[in-house]
């Protein structure tokens, strides 16, 4: 396909791309001389120049850089550990902000379709929370029911309770009664 067969927008996009290459090359000391294509809209040239000037790269803090470097070093050491001791250890999971870096859990990192499919509502998490809450409520209800209806217990329990009450009464009576 020749340039002339493309539609106008694609041709303009191609010209813009060439101009961008030159502008970015200029910033890194590469070859950027030569006349600007007269077909390129000056409006695009100006916008390119402004974005080139204003969209600066932002650096993280030194503290963050070193903290993450340390965390990566720990993770790297954990990855090396099984081999170092003869590979008899299991698979070492690298914690990632409270989660694991299991490949299935992080499939979205490498698969764009997986990212689209991913349901962020976390039904498993919500289901677990609901189950936990239900168990807690059932436990509280059982304790309340037990407190409201104390049982007499077995003969052994009654005997033990009688001995305990006799001891308590004797202790309250004191040595001078």
């Amino acid at each position: 396909m020749t340039v002339f067969e493309r539609d106008g927008s694609e041709v303009e996009a191609l010209l813009t791309d060439r101009y961008l290459e030159r502008v970015l090359a200029r910033a890194t000391g590469g070859p950027s001389n030569g006349p600007v294509d007269p077909l390129l809209d000056p409006v695009l040239r100006d916008a390119t120049e402004q974005l080139r000037r204003d969209l600066v790269r932002v650096h993280p803090s030194f503290r963050f850089e070193e903290r993450l470097a340390s965390r990566l070093a720990d993770a790297a050491a954990a990855m090396r550990m099984p081999a170092a001791v003869g590979a008899e250890g299991g698979i070492v999971q690298i914690g990632a902000l409270g989660g694991s870096l299991d490949r299935d859990d992080n499939a979205y990192l490498f698969d764009d379709d997986e990212l689209d499919r991913r349901d962020l509502s976390r039904p498993l998490l919500i289901g677990g929370a609901l189950t936990s809450a239900a168990i807690s409520l059932a436990g509280a209800a059982w304790v309340a029911w037990r407190r409201g209806r104390p049982t007499r217990g077995s003969a052994m329990v009654r005997a033990a309770r009688a001995v305990h009450e006799a001891r308590v009464a004797a202790a309250h009576a004191g040595p001078f009664d």
């Binding site: 996009a13 974005l51 600066v56 650096h59 990566l72």
Partner: protein, 222 residues
Amino acid sequence: MFVSTGPCNAMARPVFGRVRPAGEAGSTRVTHLDRDRALVEEARRDPSSFDALYRRYLAQVYSYAYYELGDHHDAEDATERTFLAALANLDRFEERARPADGEGASTFRVWLFRIARNVVANQRRGRRRHPQAPIETAALVADPLDIEASAAVHDEAAAAWRAVGRLPADRRRAVVLRFVEEMSTAEIAGVLGRSEGAVRVLIHRALRTVAHDLGRGGGRSR
């Protein structure tokens, strides 16, 4: 291990080469000579060597996340997830180019930015938050002693940041990768999973929109 990364906007361009294999006269295939090949191989042998790749690309990944999320803490979070995932999955990185990535676009940097892109996208979806242009950073480009110039530059930069922030997501990403990360069209195509032609059109349309927003377009933005 520490590797000097050079100046702030130093480009991490991959090296592409066309070779003609013996016995295949008339046909050429693209062989990708990744500039990070040695570091990647070393990191695969010894994970602690990943530090060199980390130092080389930290600012780029962080910068991309910052432009996408508009918040330093969110950007740090995304950066951390990206590098931890990259380290843990380094054996999955393939230097071989795939047709869908565009010509020779499979570099470590492209792979890393694909992870970053998905981490950021996941973060944005999870929080359902709109990015806000972090305009205070624009002051970095001005001379702090020249208050008038600083204010003018600040205003212009803030306007540019806002204009980029208002772009549709795919155009914004393409612009950030082109201007901030200084990626080639092929690399951006690899990161975004689009063709090179599509990336060129995305950037071209983004520039038209930005120019219009900045009062230079004459109503031609689309």
